[in-house]
């Protein structure tokens, strides 16, 4: 399977992969006690082979917990995810061994049966708590907290997909990755609704740095027209996410934006405090004739105009096209003649990906054939 990972292994920044974000899983104390009880008692009461199995499960779960909490060792979000997966696998082994132990009526008797009964009770608790997430229909994943925060953009005048939303709040409140400024979190997402591939953020580039400088200028109180400064980044709306009424982050962001002359707070029972930018041309791609282009998939579409330049307000990269490309500050200049612009794929990587997909199909076919004809 290693060749299937080649496109990723040859391109990805592995160091960033394992260190980006924070690996710290807060273990629910009741669950931890139940898991420890189930593991320890199964190890004590189970027949030898089952006990060893439970032992491996306990070591796996404990090792997973260590990985999932290894922020202090420099581990990142992905390592944390691996750790939590190991915890789940380890717990499954312990629960399985525990249930199996209580069925070994001939081998387990006396005080060991009593201990096994307590172990099973703890295992039942673990299964029940896991099953409790099923009725919600989200398998324990967080609720869809952001739909209410962003859908209002579709009801505003104009095409929302020509603009972005600046989302700010506490570090734990934002969808996906976030960037930090002054201890608070922010990120840009697409309107009217962010795409799933926007969840992870790349390393900051020229446009991201320029945006951070702009945001710092606004935070420092050096302008009373934040909207004018945010418009070149395509920011038409600002949503302040908060979990409680006395959220210090939300209050600080409110103070930052409430004193701006060209940001209008939107009422109407929105889920979160929201401002709309009154400044002109708060769009993410703008032609020289003043046409705003809509964000479609990973590119932009708009009115074809021959001989008219188009400014694409994304990080400067020569792969934006079609047509001639020029760097405009941190953004891109290209042509509006085709009616669309996109990011030209890197051919070598694309071929690697296609080859990997082919190799995966070949492996699956070989596996099927091996079972079918062996």
């Amino acid at each position: 399977a290693i060749p299937a990972l080649l496109p990723w292994l040859t391109i990805a920044d592995l160091e960033r992969f394992v260190t980006s974000g924070d690996a710290f899983w807060v273990i629910p104390i009741v669950t931890a006690i139940a898991a420890t009880t189930a593991a320890a008692l199964t190890l004590i009461a189970a027949p030898h082979r089952l006990a060893l199995l439970a032992g491996w499960g306990a070591i796996t779960a404990a090792g997973g917990a260590l990985l999932a909490r290894s922020y202090g060792l420099g581990a990142g979000r992905e390592v944390g995810a691996v750790g939590r997966t190991l915890v789940a696998v380890g717990m499954a082994i312990i629960v399985g061994a525990s249930f199996e132990t209580i069925t070994r009526v001939r081998e387990i008797g006396g005080w060991r049966r009593l201990v096994a009964g307590v172990s099973v009770a703890a295992a039942v608790f673990l299964v029940a708590t896991s099953a409790a997430t099923l009725p919600g229909g989200r398998a324990g994943y967080p609720a869809d907290a952001y739909r209410d925060a962003f859908t209002f953009t579709a009801a505003r005048p104009g095409d929302p997909s020509v603009s972005r939303i600046l989302v700010v709040g506490a570090p734990s409140e934002l969808p996906g990755d976030n960037r930090m400024i002054g201890g608070a979190a922010y990120r840009l997402v697409s309107a009217p609704m962010p795409e799933s591939w926007e969840a992870l953020l790349h390393e900051p580039r020229a446009g991201d740095d320029a945006f951070a400088v702009t945001l710092q200028t606004i935070i420092d109180g050096e302008t009373t027209r934040a909207g004018e400064l945010l418009a070149p980044f395509g920011v038409r709306w600002i949503v302040i996410l908060s979990d409680t009424e006395d959220d210090m982050f939300a209050r600080a962001w409110m103070n930052v934006f409430a004193g701006q002359l060209d940001l209008v707070p939107l009422g109407g029972g929105l889920a979160y405090p929201t401002f709309e930018n009154e400044a002109d041309d708060a769009v993410r791609a703008l032609s020289d004739s003043g046409e705003a282009w809509a964000h479609v998939a990973t590119g932009y579409e708009g009115k074809p105009e021959f001989g008219v330049a188009l400014e694409v307000r994304d990080n400067a990269n020569a792969r934006w096209g079609p047509g001639d490309w020029e760097q405009i500050g941190w953004a891109n200049g290209t042509s509006a003649s085709a009616g669309w612009v996109g990011f030209d794929p890197i051919e070598s990587r694309r071929w690697l990906a296609i080859a990997a997909a082919g190799w995966m199909l070949l492996l699956a076919g070989a596996a099927w054939a091996g079972r079918r004809f062996a």
């Binding site: 273990i27 030898h48 201890g183 608070a184 002359l261 060209d262 209008v264």
Partner: protein
């Protein structure tokens, strides 16, 4: 054996997991909106909020702009109907330079607060409003805190006090106003979570809401949004307006009175403990340090009749061990109610006699019959006096550079700059005119602990409507405008 080993390994790894240190728990961001000093300007783009201005059939207002460097300025005048677009006017200033913009030339809507935005700085703004009967002016406000203090209100008989709440931002504001008067502290009726619509203003007649109060201090807190408050006081002869401020432990007043006017100082303390206040006077003969000292209790705003301490004119500094609010007000003698303790050996009736005598200095100050009897005798003492009402919050800081706009712009009125040198060193003050010409730079030497009045020629003669003051030591600056319409004091704006 293997069981024990598994238990030990799992336990050790589990303990290691439990002992891991979590990321720092960040409970609040490390930024907040910086609040500029009320009398300072920075080198950044800025917006100045002029809460009290009016241009109509009877009144004219000038927005007075000055800048050190080339700047573009935009004046925004919100429409009285918030749903309609505001009036906008763009101007350029070649720095160092100054302009005085007639509000009526942009729009005449009557009472009409404005916003002046500069795209760079240091640049500053003040207003002057006048008619045939009144003259007033304010330093516009550049800071926008959530809590304001407005001291010096009077709703006693003969006074009309208005509260102006200007919300220049789009977000509706919700404010709660607390009143501190001689009767204690209370929430202003009708102003518990009072809404002030965005890009709009509310003018409330406090004389009808809380009548017959000799001294009123307001604390205005914004629960949401931001407002710019100011007081507008009318005593039947003139109008005075002044913006809300914060509180400070030091207040400088380079000007406290003009001939014919009696200065009073209003002190208020909205803290929880008493503030020990000392008053230093800076007279033409030298400083009188600790001319008065008293404790200002939290619920007892105090008016001090400064003429009881020394013969005006003089400049003044207030020092306190806790933040207090301070306003200077000058009016015809006897105009303001007496609520402070008279100095030893002087009764209220004594001071009343003094007021009568002093009042007669101004030929037009009063129609009191008793005054008329002494007119011939007093005219020999003071050849020229002013009538009217002026008020001004002090300067909280001294600076070596000041931008002073709005000079010589009111027709028929005299304008003076007042410079206080509160230091122990000589101050050499360079006064550079700004406007059409920067020639005729003047240098003034001010001895330690003294002040100087620098008369300014009318704009119509010089083409200059501002000065840049550069001093060798930190000084404090204010402006007086006095004419047949009335009098106005305007605090200076330091730039470094």
């Amino acid at each position: 054996m293997r069981r024990a080993l598994a238990i030990i390994v799992a336990a050790v790894v589990g303990l290691l997991a439990v002992s891991q240190i979590p990321p720092a728990d960040v409970r609040a961001p490390d930024f907040e909106i910086p609040v500029s000093g009320i009398d300072g300007a920075t080198g950044d783009p800025s917006a100045w909020y002029c809460s009290w201005a009016a241009a109509g059939a009877l009144r004219d207002t000038a927005f007075n702009l000055a800048s050190i460097i080339d700047v573009d300025a935009t004046i925004t005048l919100p429409n009285p109907n918030p749903t309609e677009e505001p009036a906008l006017a763009d101007f350029s200033l070649r720095g160092p330079g100054a302009r005085s913009i007639d509000e009526g030339g942009i729009v005449r809507h009557g009472t009409q607060p404005g916003i002046i935005e500069f795209d760079d700085g240091p640049a500053v703004a003040t207003t002057a409003t006048w008619s045939e009967e009144i003259l007033t002016g304010d330093r516009c406000v550049v800071s926008v805190p959530k809590e304001w203090h407005l001291a010096g209100g009077v709703t006693a008989e003969g006074f009309t006090l208005q509260l102006q709440l200007f919300n220049p931002f789009a977000e509706p504001a919700k404010v709660t106003i607390e009143t501190i008067s001689e009767f204690g502290r209370s929430t202003l009726s009708g102003f518990e979570s009072r809404d002030v619509p965005g890009r709009s203003w509310v003018t409330e007649d406090l004389s009808r809401l809380i009548p017959f109060l000799d001294i009123v201090t307001l604390t205005i807190r914004s629960e949401s949004g931001i407002v710019i408050p100011s007081f507008v006081l009318n005593d039947g002869t003139d109008e005075a307006s002044w913006p809300a401020t914060g509180q400070s432990t030091t207040w400088d007043f380079p000007v406290t009175s003009l001939p014919g006017l009696e200065p009073t100082l209003v002190l208020s303390n909205t803290g929880s403990v008493g503030a020990t206040v000392s008053i230093d006077l800076f007279t033409p003969d030298g400083p009188i340090l600790d001319a008065d000292g008293r404790i200002i209790s939290p619920l007892e705003p105090t008016r001090i009749h400064l003429a009881d301490l020394a013969e005006p004119p003089f400049a003044l500094r207030v020092r306190s061990n806790a933040p207090v609010g301070a306003i200077i007000q000058a009016a015809a003698p006897g105009a303001f109610p007496r609520s402070d303790d008279a100095p030893p050996g002087q009764s209220d009736s004594d001071s009343g006699d003094d007021e009568e005598t002093t009042t007669t200095i101004a030929p037009d100050a009063t129609d009191d019959a008793a005054s008329d009897e002494t007119v011939p005798e007093e005219e020999e003492v003071t050849p020229f006096t002013f009538t009217g009402l002026a008020a001004m919050p002090g300067n909280t800081d001294t600076h070596e550079r000041w931008l002073v706009p709005g000079l010589g712009i009111v027709p028929g009125a005299d304008t003076s700059i007042w410079v206080l040198n509160p230091t122990g060193d000589d101050a050499t003050v360079t006064v550079e005119p700004l406007g059409v010409s920067s020639n005729n730079v003047e240098k003034v030497l001010i001895q330690p602990g003294r002040y100087a009045e620098i008369p300014i020629a009318p704009l119509s003669e010089t083409g200059n409507s501002a000065v840049l003051i550069d001093a060798t030591v930190p000084v404090s600056v204010a402006v007086s405008i006095a004419g047949p319409q009335g009098v106005a004091f305007i605090g200076g704006i330091g730039i470094g």
